[in-house]
């Protein structure tokens, strides 16, 4: 995909079909009205176009640019800066394993390795059925629930390799999956719409899984003179003794290596990721 093309520049992206466009324009108008300056609506609008197509397409970029009076280059510059905007078609469920230091040490690395093997995909790749996109993610502010897995940005706390494998099996089989903190899963596109600022209208979504998680309450319980309950760690009904240590398991921190090579210098392993119209 990094073939150097010296031919004609790409033609402008096609527009959305008229009905889609009309619907998104109404949404965009609502988003823009929330801000004193229209450009502030760009991040929500990029979430909005992801809710339509599952990733940021050239058509989506053109739409955002048109709504805000920006060039497609300006919009692309922003969309490629942020990690939540996908650049290629991806699965219904974005499964992110935290491999920042604390979660990695507590078992996130092992979970990520086992999921890669179990699903037969690498980082930021999607299963053949289009259900699951696997990626490693950075710290998601849930270190007291480590190791943490996020699916469509809902919390799956206190994971083990076995619970994580069960989780992706359930996702692929189309079984309803519920997080430890968050609402019953909806698809990535539906999640993107919430991120664009449109509240989740599903009954029970706000109150799902109740109040604070168990770790959040530990200090409060101690302060009230209660003894902390033993840590509940086997989510989703999994037996806890399920993680055979892998002697000499590969743990070199190489998972974050650049994945693409610069078009201008294919020999350089550190080149930027190619983008826009690959």
């Amino acid at each position: 995909m990094t073939d150097v093309s010296l031919g004609m520049p790409q033609l402008p992206a096609p527009e959305y079909p008229a009905d889609v466009r009309a619907r998104l324009e109404a949404d965009a108008k609502e988003v823009i009205a929330r801000y004193p300056d229209s450009r502030s609506a760009l991040l929500p609008l990029l979430h909005l176009v992801q809710s339509e197509e599952g990733y940021v397409t050239r058509t989506g970029v053109r739409f955002c640019a048109g709504q805000l009076g920006l060039t497609t280059a300006e919009v692309t510059a922003v969309s490629t800066f942020y990690s939540m905007y996908r650049r290629k078609p991806s699965g219904d469920y974005q499964v992110g394993v935290c491999t920042n230091t604390l979660c990695a040490v507590m078992g996130g690395d092992e979970i990520f390795e086992e999921l890669k093997e179990h699903l037969g995909v690498g980082n930021n790749e999607t299963t053949a059925d289009g259900k699951v996109t696997l990626e490693h993610i950075e710290c998601n502010a849930a270190c007291d629930f480590a190791p943490v897995v996020m699916v469509n940005w809902e919390f799956f706390d206190d994971q083990t390799p076995a619970s994580a494998k069960q989780l992706v099996d359930d996702l692929q089989a189309g079984r309803q999956v519920e997080p430890t903190r968050g609402a019953p899963l909806c698809t990535y596109k539906e999640t993107a719409r919430i991120l664009a600022g449109f509240p989740d209208e599903r009954p029970g979504a706000v109150e799902a899984t109740g109040g604070a998680g168990h770790a959040s309450l530990i200090g409060l319980r101690l302060a009230k003179g209660e003894t902390p309950a033993p840590r509940v760690v086997a989510p989703r009904g999994e037996a806890p003794q399920d993680a055979p240590p892998q002697p000499g398991a590969e743990h070199l921190s190489s998972h974050d290596a650049p994945q693409e090579t610069s078009a201008s210098d294919p020999a350089n392993p550190a080149g930027p990721v190619a983008e826009e119209g690959e």
Binding site: P36, Y82, G107, G211, A212, L217, A243, P245, H251, S253
Partner: protein, 456 residues
């Protein structure tokens, strides 16, 4: 020296009831703690009534007198930030709440907003009344949809109850709150990068001056405050600044959320007066996981220089941690035991900084890249002893020479780990590999062993 693992064994005889002080977390265990109804049953929106009865300038002075300092890492006095907003300048003023909690190890604002979002909304209304703002923003990191849902709902409830909108509680104050979801970028936790991001741009930090108080969002006077700072304001008004100052120390008064994580028996949130020590927190909560010893820990996230066992009695307030050579930061107490390879930990943090470097300034963009190359080699047993000085040198070229404080943060784990664990780095080099087994560090490492013991 060992860290006691028995609750009875706490060193100074103080009980958790006396050492802890749940305020923001006081009713997280109540049914539907995130709703307006539950919040109102626990003094909710009482602080607002007191605030609206004061003149805005008096309110700013009151918060300043309370001594409340920013809970996002830097510890800047909150009331002073409010005071810096020029009044009568004819420009719109803005309040922007930094809810982009992304510093590795930091996990206090997200549970706070999940369980008690109205404390933030009430604090925001009070702050906006003080700085004379009629439009406020919550910049929430995008990767926490459960929290986004509850913020949407809390804002909706507050509008419906007349706490937001026109003429709030008959005070003449008008206020609109916009909940804004980010899109995944650690740098947006830096306040000027956050403002650029909120303006629909790449999240890159701005040159200062001008400071946000003069030219912030849309070049208008803007206060940027952390979630916990703003959420602490209603309690200060309800219970009084003297109550607040009765906790903590003179320069670091009040209560705060400490987040204990890693190889501890009971990771979680512990709300206590500033100045508690890690030893006290561990003693009351069951200590380091059974059969293990504390090796290193961070007082406030990965960007604060790491500590070791010798720092267990450092008072965890702004001055205490500073005097011991680190920073209080976000009070993210990540604890690692003796099974953890410090080179692995620092390599991973550094990969994070390299990944998240916004690319604006050369020292951070290039420096973090080269740090990662060296660290990966060392971890893989391919390093040379001269690499250690090189690491130090590169970190020195990032620290204090970057555009924003995130560069300094990237240098912290390098400096501090080399200071306390240089031998371990050397071991990787001379032994041509990592002497640690990562399987022993996992949460489940000891489980099968313990089961066997019980059965035997």
């Amino acid at each position: 020296m060992t860290v006691a693992t028995e609750i009875e064994g706490n060193g100074n005889g103080s009980s958790p009831e006396k050492l802890l002080a749940p305020v923001l977390s006081a009713f997280w265990d109540q049914p539907n703690s995130w709703t307006l109804e539950t919040y109102k049953r626990h003094d909710g929106y009482e602080g607002l009534k007191k605030a609206l009865a004061m003149a805005p300038d008096d309110l700013i002075a009151y918060v300043k007198d309370s001594g409340l300092r920013g809970r996002g890492g830097a510890g800047f006095p909150t009331g002073m930030k409010w005071q810096f907003i020029p009044q009568g300048d004819g420009k719109p003023h803005y309040l922007v709440v930094n809810a982009d909690e992304s510093e590795p190890g930091t996990c206090k604002d997200i549970p706070l907003l999940f369980a008690n979002p109205h404390s933030l909304i009430e604090g925001m209304i009070i702050a906006c009344y003080a700085i004379r703002s009629s439009h406020a923003f919550i910049y929430l990191r995008g990767e926490v949809v459960p929290v986004l849902r509850r913020l949407h709902e809390a804002v909706r409830e507050a509008y419906a109850a007349g706490y937001l909108g026109e003429n709030i509680l008959g005070s003449g104050l008008n206020l609109e709150i916009t909940v804004h979801a980010g899109a995944g970028a650690y740098i947006c936790g830096e306040e000027t990068a956050l403002l650029d991001s909120l303006e629909g741009r790449r999240g890159q930090p701005r040159l200062r001056p001008p400071f946000p108080a003069v030219a912030g969002l849309y070049a208008c006077p803007t206060v940027v405050n952390n979630v916990e700072s703003i959420a602490s304001v209603p309690a200060i008004l309800t219970k009084g600044k003297d109550w607040f100052k009765s906790m903590g120390s003179e320069k670091s008064p009040g209560f705060t959320l400490y987040s204990l994580s890693g190889h501890v028996t009971n990771p979680g949130q512990y709300e206590a007066p500033l100045g508690i020590t890690l030893r006290q927190l561990l003693d009351m909560s069951g200590g380091i996981r059974e059969g293990h010893r504390l090796k290193f820990w961070t007082p406030g996230g990965s960007s604060t220089p790491m500590f070791t066992e010798e720092h267990l009695d450092v008072a965890l307030d702004y001055e205490g941690v500073g005097a011991a050579g680190s920073m209080l930061g976000t009070k993210a107490l990540q604890c690692f035991d003796e099974t953890t390879c410090v080179v692995r930990a620092v390599t991973r943090w550094t990969e994070f900084y390299a990944h998240e470097s916004c690319g604006k300034c050369t020292p951070c963009r290039e420096g973090t890249y080269w740090l990662v190359q060296l660290l990966r080699d060392i971890e893989a047993g391919k390093g040379q002893l001269s690499d250690l000085d090189k690491l130090n040198d590169i970190a020195d070229n990032i620290n204090g020479k970057s555009f924003c404080a995130l560069g300094d943060g990237a240098a912290s784990p390098i400096f501090s780990s080399l200071k306390y664990f240089r031998e371990e780095y050397e071991q990787h080099i001379t032994g041509k590999g990592c002497p640690f087994d990562p399987a022993k560090s996992t949460v489940w490492a000891d489980r099968s062993a313990r089961t066997t013991e019980v059965n035997a």
